[in-house]
C-alpha cells in the first residue's frame, strides 16, 4: 500500500470514531466533552450538507428553466416558492405566520393528497395483480394484504363473530410473527452491516473520505 496524505485523514477518522465509541463504555468527563464537540461538528457539517442539497436543487431546476426543458414551468414555480420561503424564513424566521400559512395550506394538503393517491394506487394494483401476474407470490401477497385489511378494518357486520375473531387473530399473527420475524432479520442484518462498516472505518480499511 502506498503511503500518502490519506494516512492523516485515516488517523483523524479513526481517532474520532474511537473517542465517540469509548464514550459509550466509559463515562469520563473528558471523553464526554470531546464526544460532544465532535458530534457538534458533525451536526454543523450535516447542516452544511443540507444547504448544499438545497443549492443543488436550485441549480438543477435553474438549468431546466434556462434550457427551456420539458416541465420548466414547474421548475420555475419551485424556484419561485423556494426563494419566497427562503427569504421569509431568513427575514422573519421559520415560525413566521406567512410561512406557517404556506405550510399549512400548501405543503400539508399536497403531501396528504399524495399519500391518499397512494392508497388508491395500491388498491388498483391489488385489483390488477392477478390479471397481470398469476403466480404463487402474487397470491401470497394478495392474501396477506387482504387478511391484514380484513383483520384491521372494522367489519360492517359480524364484528363480534367468531370469524372476525379468527381473522383478527390471523392479522395479529401476520403482523407480529411473520412480519416481525422478517423485520428482526432485517434489523440484525442492518446491525451487522453497521458494525462492519464502523470497524472498517475505524481500521481505515474503508476510507470514504478519500485517499
Amino acid at each position: 500500500m502506498k503511503l500518502g496524505i490519506y494516512v492523516v485523514w485515516a488517523a483523524v477518522a479513526t481517532a474520532t470514531g474511537l473517542f465517540v465509541l469509548l464514550g459509550y463504555f466509559f463515562q469520563l468527563d473528558l471523553l464526554f466533552g470531546l464526544r460532544l464537540l465532535l458530534i457538534q461538528w458533525a451536526v454543523l457539517l450535516a447542516a452544511g450538507a443540507l444547504f448544499l442539497g438545497l443549492f443543488n436543487l436550485l441549480s438543477v431546476h435553474w438549468a431546466k428553466v434556462s434550457l427551456q426543458e420539458g416541465g420548466w414551468p414547474y421548475s420555475a414555480l419551485l424556484i419561485l416558492m423556494f426563494l419566497v420561503t427562503l427569504v421569509l424564513g431568513l427575514l422573519f424566521g421559520p415560525d413566521y405566520q406567512a410561512v406557517m400559512l404556506l405550510f399549512r395550506y400548501v405543503q400539508l394538503p399536497v403531501e396528504a393528497s399524495l399519500l391518499a393517491l397512494l392508497a388508491v394506487s395500491l388498491t388498483l394494483a391489488g385489483f390488477r395483480l392477478l390479471s397481470r401476474r398469476r403466480d404463487l407470490a402474487s397470491l401470497v401477497f394478495l392474501g396477506a394484504a387482504f387478511l391484514t385489511l380484513l383483520g384491521t378494518a372494522p367489519w360492517p357486520v359480524g364484528a363480534d363473530s367468531s370469524l372476525a375473531l379468527v381473522v383478527g387473530d390471523l392479522r395479529a399473527w401476520i403482523s407480529q410473527v411473520v412480519a416481525a420475524g422478517g423485520a428482526r432479520g432485517i434489523l440484525l442484518g442492518v446491525a451487522l452491516g453497521a458494525i462492519t462498516t464502523g470497524l472498517r472505518v475505524l481500521l481505515a480499511s474503508d476510507r470514504p473520505y478519500g485517499d
Binding site: 451536526v43 447542516a47 403531501e111 388498483l124 385489483f127 390479471s131 385489511l149 360492517p156
Partner: protein, 807 residues
C-alpha cells in the same frame, strides 16, 4: 531540404547520407570504379587515376580508344554499334568493338601505325610502367616484347611446370604484392626472351603471332592475319626449334592441333595450373580477336565481377605500375600466392564456352593468333568499369556496327542477351509453378500490389551493378507506392461460437440501419379500472363522513400494546415535561394525528407539560397545529403548558447530541411566546430543570418511518435512564419497531399504532376524538379496498380460466 528515400524502408534520409539512418541500407549504390567502392586489399585504387583494372584490360581499353581515332581515318566501312543506348552490356559492346580490329589485321610484314599508336596510347595510363620501360629503337618490330622486357628487365621466368616461387621470373615485371602477376608472361620471358626474341626481332615478326598462332588456326584467321602467316611460321618455328627442351608445354600444346589443344587447355583451366593459364591469358591479352576465350568468361558474365574479381583483376595494373618499385624479395615471397590468385582472376567456372566442341576447336587457333600482336600491346577487351564503359559507349561505340560483324558461333551463343532481355530466355522454360505448390498458394489472400508491366515498358536500371538491365526489381517504387494494406496471408480460424457472435453482431448492426417504424398510436381507451377504483375509494370515504352511515361498530377487542402505554402515561410525573418528537412528513398527518391525539389528550388531561422537537423541518408546524388543536379544550398556552423547541438539524448525530446535551443541540425555539422573544427556549420555565434527556418525564416519538423510530430508540436509549420511551407509529412501521418493544430489555417502552388502537385509547380516555370521527371512513375505505381486491382477484382468475379454455 532534399531527401533521399531509402529503397528498403522508404524512410526519408538526408541527401548526403550514405546509409539509411533507419535500416542501415546503403542509399548510394556502389559503382565499379566509383569513389564509394571500397578498395581492394593490397591494391589501393584511385578511381580517378589508378583504376583497379588489370593492365591487360586497361590496355585493351586503351587500344580501343586509340583504334577509334584511327578507324575514322583508315576504315571507311567501320562498323557502328548496333545498340548505342546501352541495350547491350558494356562488355559486349566492347567485345563487338574489338571484332573489326581482328579483321583488319596489320599488313604483312608491317606494323601499322595505328597499332604503334595504340601501343603508345595503351602505355599512357601506366605512367610508372612507362617509366621503367626501356624503349629499343633498334627493334621496332618487337616492341611488345621489348616493352615486356622493359617492364621486367630482371625478370627470370621459371620454366613451365616449375614452381614459380623458385624463380624470380616476374619479380620485376609485375607487382610482387599484387598477387596477380601473369605467370604466362613470366614464363614467356624465361623461355623466349633470351633465345627466341632476338631472332624474331631480327626477322621483323612479332613473336606473339608466331607462338600464338597454331597451324590450324591460320585457316580461320582473317586475310590480314593470313598475310603474316609466312613470317609467323618462321618465328614460331624458331621458337619451337630453338629450344625444344625449354619450350613450355603450353606452347607446345598451342602448336598442336586444335582438338588436342582444347583438351589440354580445359583441364589446365580447371586445375589452375600455370601452363593452362598461359594460353588463356595470352588469348586475352594480345588477342584483339573476337573469340578470345580468356577474357570471354568475364565478358560474358559481368555480374561475376565481384569484389574478389575486381581485386584480383586490379592487381596486374598495380603490378605494372609498381613493378619498378618492388623488390625482388617481395616478388619471391608472393609468387606462390600470386600463382593461385591469378587463377582466380577470371571466373572460369562461368565460362560457357564449350572447349570440346568443334566450334571451339576451330576457334581456338583464331583465338590464339593475335594478328596485331606485333605491337606488343595487350588486346582491348570490353570495359568492366562503369565510368569508362559509358565513355566508350557514348563516343566510340557508334563507330561500330555490330550487326555487320560476323561473330563466331560460340560467341553468338555465349553473348549475353540480358542487355535487351530477350535472348537470354530462349532456352529457358517459362516459369511455372508446380501443382502442389499452386495448391498451397493462398489464392484469395494474395493480391499483387504491383502490376507487372510488359517487358518493353519496364525501365532500364541506370545505376548499380545491374545497370543496363531491364526489368530488374525496383525496390523503391514498390515500397514507396501507396497502396492498400494487403490481406492477411493466413485465414482466420473462427470457432462456431465466434461465428455465432459475429452473426449476432451483424444482425444487430443491420437492425440499427433499419428505420424503426413510428409506433402506431394505440387506441386510447379510458382507464375504466382506474377510474372505477378511484371512484369507489372516494365514495367509500366521503359517504360515511357526510352521511354518518354506515356505522362501523367500535372494536371490542383492545390491542395488547395499549395497556402498557396507558399505564406509562398514567404514571408519569406531572412536574416533568414530556418530550414529544414529531418526526413524520405532513402526508402522514392524517393517520398519525389521529393516533397521537389520545395520548396527547391524556397528557394534557393530566396536566403534563409538553415540549416538542423534530428532526424534520416540517415537524414543528405539525406539532404546533396538533397541540393547538388538541389542547384547545384544555386551555393549553404556548410557553406555559407547551413549548416547541423546533427543528433539530443533523439527523442521527443531532439525535445523539440532543440526547446527551439538549441545551447544546437546540439554541432557539419555535413559535416561542412573545415574552420569550429573543431568548432561548431553554429559558422557558418548562425546561428549567431539564438538562438532559433523562430529565424529561417521557419521550414519545411520533414517526411514520422505521428509520426515524430506530434512530431515536438507539441513540437516545443510553441517556434516557428511567425515562420511558414510547413510539406512536404508523400502521406500516409498527412491525419493525416491535422488536425494540418486545425484547427482554426493551428500548421502547410502549407502542401506539393504528387507528383501531387509537380509537380504543380514546374510548379509554372517555372522549371521542379524531380516531372516532375517522373510524367510519376508515372502515368504509378498508372495506371497499378489500372488495376491490377480491373483485380483482376474481376477474383475473376468471379471465385466466376463460383464456385457457379458449386455448
Amino acid at each position: 531540404m532534399a531527401e533521399i528515400r531509402c529503397p528498403m524502408c522508404s524512410k526519408p534520409n538526408p541527401e548526403d547520407a550514405e546509409t539509411c539512418n533507419f535500416c542501415g541500407a546503403r542509399l548510394k549504390p556502389l559503382m565499379v570504379g566509383s569513389a564509394d567502392e571500397p578498395s581492394s586489399a593490397g591494391a589501393p585504387q584511385d578511381p580517378g587515376q589508378n583504376e583497379p583494372v588489370p593492365d591487360w584490360l586497361a590496355r585493351i581499353r586503351s587500344k580501343a580508344e586509340a583504334d577509334r581515332a584511327e578507324e575514322g581515318e583508315e576504315e571507311d566501312d567501320a562498323p557502328k554499334p548496333a545498340d548505342e543506348g546501352g541495350g547491350s552490356p558494356d562488355w559486349l559492346g566492347r567485345l563487338r568493338q574489338a571484332e573489326p580490329l581482328q579483321d583488319e589485321g596489320p599488313p604483312e610484314g608491317h606494323i601499322p601505325d595505328w597499332l604503334e599508336e595504340t601501343s603508345e596510347a595503351a602505355e599512357k595510363p601506366f605512367e610508372q610502367e612507362s617509366e621503367v620501360r626501356i624503349p629499343d629503337p633498334d627493334r621496332p618490330e618487337t616492341g611488345w616484347l621489348d616493352r615486356l622486357r622493359a617492364e621486367s628487365p630482371s625478370a627470370q621466368v621459371p620454366e613451365a611446370g616449375e614452381d614459380q616461387a623458385e624463380g624470380p621470373a616476374e619479380a620485376d615485371l609485375f607487382e610482387p604484392g599484387s598477387g596477380n602477376a601473369l605467370d604466362w608472361l613470366g614464363e614467356l620471358e624465361e623461355r623466349d626472351i633470351d633465345d627466341a626474341s632476338a631472332g624474331l626481332a631480327a626477322e621483323g615478326v612479332s613473336p606473339w603471332a608466331e607462338f600464338e598462332t597454331p597451324p590450324e588456326a591460320e585457316d580461320d584467321l582473317s586475310p590480314e592475319a593470313d598475310a603474316q602467316d609466312e613470317g609467323q611460321d618462321d618465328w614460331l618455328g624458331d621458337l619451337e626449334g630453338g629450344e625444344p627442351g625449354g619450350l613450355p608445354d603450353w606452347i607446345s600444346e598451342l602448336s598442336e592441333p586444335g582438338e588436342a589443344q582444347a583438351e589440354e587447355i580445359e583441364p589446365g583451366l580447371e586445375a589452375e595450373d600455370d601452363a593452362p593459364e598461359l594460353p588463356d591469358i595470352d588469348l586475352t591479352l594480345p588477342g584483339e580477336e573476337v573469340g578470345l576465350p580468356g577474357p570471354q568468361p568475364e565478358l560474358s558474365a559481368p555480374p561475376a565481377m565481384d569484389d574478389d574479381t575486381l581485386e584480383t583483376a586490379g592487381t596486374p595494373e598495380g603490378t605494372g605500375e609498381q613493378s619498378g618499385e618492388q623488390s625482388d624479395e617481395q616478388t619471391d615471397e608472393q609468387t606462390d600466392d600470386q600463382s593461385d590468385e591469378q587463377t582466380g582472376v577470371f571466373d572460369w567456372d562461368e565460362v560457357e564456352f564449350d572447349w570440346d566442341s568443334e566450334a571451339a576447336q576451330d576457334e581456338l587457333p583464331e583465338i590464339e593468333a593475335p594478328p596485331v600482336s606485333v605491337a606488343g600491346e595487350l588486346p582491348h577487351v570490353p570495359a568492366l568499369i562503369m565510368g569508362e564503359t559509358d565513355d566508350v559507349l557514348k563516343s566510340d561505340a557508334q563507330d561500330f556496327d555490330l550487326s555487320t560483324v560476323e561473330l563466331p558461333d560460340w560467341l553468338s551463343e555465349v553473348r549475353p542477351d540480358s542487355g535487351d532481355g530477350e535472348g537470354g530466355r530462349g532456352d529457358l522454360a517459362p516459369a511455372t509453378i508446380p501443382n502442389w505448390l499452386e495448391a498451397m498458394r493462398p489464392v484469395e489472400t494474395f493480391r499483387p500490389v504491383v502490376d507487372i508491366e510488359p517487358e518493353e515498358e519496364q525501365a532500364i536500371e541506370s545505376v548499380g551493378p545491374l545497370a543496363g538491365l531491364r526489368g530488374v526489381l525496383l525496390a523503391e517504387p514498390v515500397v514507396a507506392k501507396p497502396r492498400a494494406a494487403t490481406a492477411s496471408g493466413a485465414r482466420l480460424e473462427v470457432t462456431e461460437r465466434q461465428f455465432a457472435q459475429a452473426e449476432l453482431l451483424e444482425r444487430i448492426v443491420e437492425q440499427e440501419e433499419h428505420e424503426i417504424p413510428a409506433a402506431v398510436a394505440g387506441k386510447r381507451t379510458l382507464p375504466i379500472a382506474r377510474w372505477l377504483v378511484s371512484a369507489v375509494m372516494l365514495l367509500a370515504v366521503l359517504i360515511p363522513a357526510l352521511t354518518g352511515t354506515p356505522v362501523f361498530p367500535i372494536p371490542q377487542r383492545v390491542s395488547r400494546d395499549l395497556g402498557p402505554l396507558v399505564g406509562i402515561v398514567n404514571t408519569l410525573p406531572t412536574d416533568r415535561p414530556v418530550l414529544m418528537v414529531f418526526d413524520f412528513e405532513p402526508g402522514y398527518s392524517g393517520e398519525l394525528d389521529a393516533v397521537a391525539e389520545p395520548l396527547i389528550e391524556n397528557l394534557l388531561a393530566r396536566g403534563i407539560n409538553i415540549v416538542t422537537v423534530s428532526t424534520r423541518p416540517t415537524g414543528p408546524p405539525l406539532a404546533v397545529d396538533l397541540i393547538n388543536q388538541i389542547g384547545a379544550p384544555y386551555q393549553v398556552e404556548n410557553g406555559r403548558n407547551v413549548l416547541h423547541l423546533g427543528y433539530l438539524s443533523g439527523g442521527p448525530s443531532a439525535v445523539q447530541l440532543f440526547s446527551a446535551a439538549p441545551r447544546e443541540a437546540i439554541l432557539k425555539g419555535f413559535q416561542l411566546p412573545p415574552e420569550m422573544s429573543g431568548q432561548s427556549a431553554w429559558a422557558s420555565p418548562l425546561l428549567r430543570d431539564v438538562h438532559s434527556l433523562s430529565d424529561f418525564g417521557m419521550v414519545a416519538v411520533v414517526a411514520a418511518g422505521t428509520d426515524t423510530a430506530q434512530t431515536w430508540a438507539e441513540q437516545s436509549h443510553p441517556w434516557l435512564g428511567d425515562t420511558p420511551l414510547v413510539m406512536i407509529l404508523s400502521q406500516g412501521a409498527e412491525p419493525l419497531i416491535r422488536p425494540y418493544f418486545e425484547s427482554l430489555t426493551p428500548q421502547v417502552n410502549g407502542i401506539l399504532s393504528g387507528l383501531p388502537t387509537a380509537l380504543a385509547y380514546e374510548q379509554l380516555n372517555g372522549r371521542q376524538g379524531m380516531a372516532f370521527s375517522r373510524w367510519n371512513g376508515f372502515g368504509a375505505g378498508a372495506f371497499a379496498a378489500e372488495w376491490l381486491i377480491i373483485a380483482g382477484m376474481a376477474y383475473g382468475l376468471i379471465g385466466w380460466i376463460m383464456r385457457r379454455r379458449r386455448a
